[in-house]
Amino acid sequence: MTAWFDVGLALMALGLAWRAIATRRAFDSTVAFVIYGLVLTIAWVRLGAYDVALTEAAVGSGLTGALLLGAAHRLERAPADEDRPSAPLRALLAVACAGVALGLGAVVLALPQVEPLQAVAAASAAEATGLLNPVNNVLMAFRAIDTVLEKMVLFAALVGVWSLAPDAAWGRRPGRRFPPAAEGPLTLFARVLPPVGVLIAAHLLWVGADAPGGAFQGATILAAMILLVRLAGLADAPPVSSRALRLLIVLGPAAFLGVGMAGVVLAGAPFAYPAAHAKAIILVVEFAMLVSVAATLALLVVGPPERAQAAP
């Protein structure tokens, strides 16, 4: 019974994936892609990966969808771009890509059932960090260096996006300005929802220690709140030259890196935590990451500064 549910879910995901690549309009593709992400979220739940499911829904489907929808809207009037490959070439490509998929499928079917060494290690080390959620144990402790590097990637991407600003707009507020909408459903929603969103983000961060959730998922919800308030025209992003904004963005990576380096002195290895205070330290670092990642994700969606004249 559940096997057929899984097969149906997988076929639905593949059908939506096909629709996302085969549709002509970028807007329609993006809608298909967002629905594909939501179907995939259920697939991740079926795979027992609840933390991944939350992240897929929030980042893979939500934020990426918002980014692509915005771009599709702005490129709607772009002239015809490159030539479509000729029919024989497309057939050849289809055969080659089907070959890649079949090869990967064969690898999936050949995967052996392995000894759960890493799951056992992560679970047995729960008392070392005080976190019961094995995924967050991996993210924050056992492979913390990966997470720090990921923060650096986010930071570098934001620097890259900002550097695309035209010279005349540099240092100004990012993105285009959304005029304050007339009082209506959107402004009401953008006033009522953010307090709830902040609460849910804090809740996700807090329960992430022992249950699915964590800093990333909370940060994405905070980023969504920032984008909603901006979309409703209630507030604008600060100028990219703002020192406070830059400090906010650097806070999370700096705290994580600083604590990681302090581990050399306090616990004998980089990214090791003194056992007595591991959970408290991890929570503080996660909180710093929450605000920085939220700001960075929102600013990545907003884009580079582009308003040449000074905003009033």
Partner: protein, 125 residues
């Protein structure tokens, strides 16, 4: 070999990689190439999920290390997508087109932008 949940979604992941690859190569619109690239990435993540599930232990759940890597990967692929979309929008603003082909059209010259700006085309390729 049985068709369990890991195999079903692993195969779906393989299919998504194939579809994404095809979309990236065959779709003429750069924005949809970016979308197809994301599709390819999510297929690869799904295969990670299958690997994690293969190492599941009774009472412990799946292997958490691939899960953590997928979470990291999702955020990184979002960052890369944001950068590519930024490059595309800038290219469109500067040249009036999203094509990566060299176009000796009049539009680029008409915008009177510094020549250095157009070099972004190279980065996007």
């Amino acid at each position: 070999m049985i068709l369990d949940v890991a195999a079903v979604f692993g195969l779906a992941g393989a299919g998504a990689v194939g579809l994404g690859l095809f979309g990236m190569l065959a779709n003429p619109r750069p924005l949809q190439k970016v979308l197809a690239f994301n599709l390819m990435g999510s297929g690869a993540f799904l295969m990670f999920g299958a690997v994690a599930r293969r190492a599941a232990a009774p009472g412990l759940g799946p292997d958490p290390v691939p899960h953590a890597m997928v979470i990291t990967g999702l955020v990184v692929s979002f960052a890369a997508t944001a950068l590519i979309v930024g490059l595309l929008l800038r290219l469109h603003a500067v040249s009036g087109s999203t094509s990566l082909k060299p176009q000796p059209g009049p539009r680029r010259a008409a915008r009177s932008t510094p020549a250095s700006k157009t070099s972004e085309r190279g980065d996007a390729a």
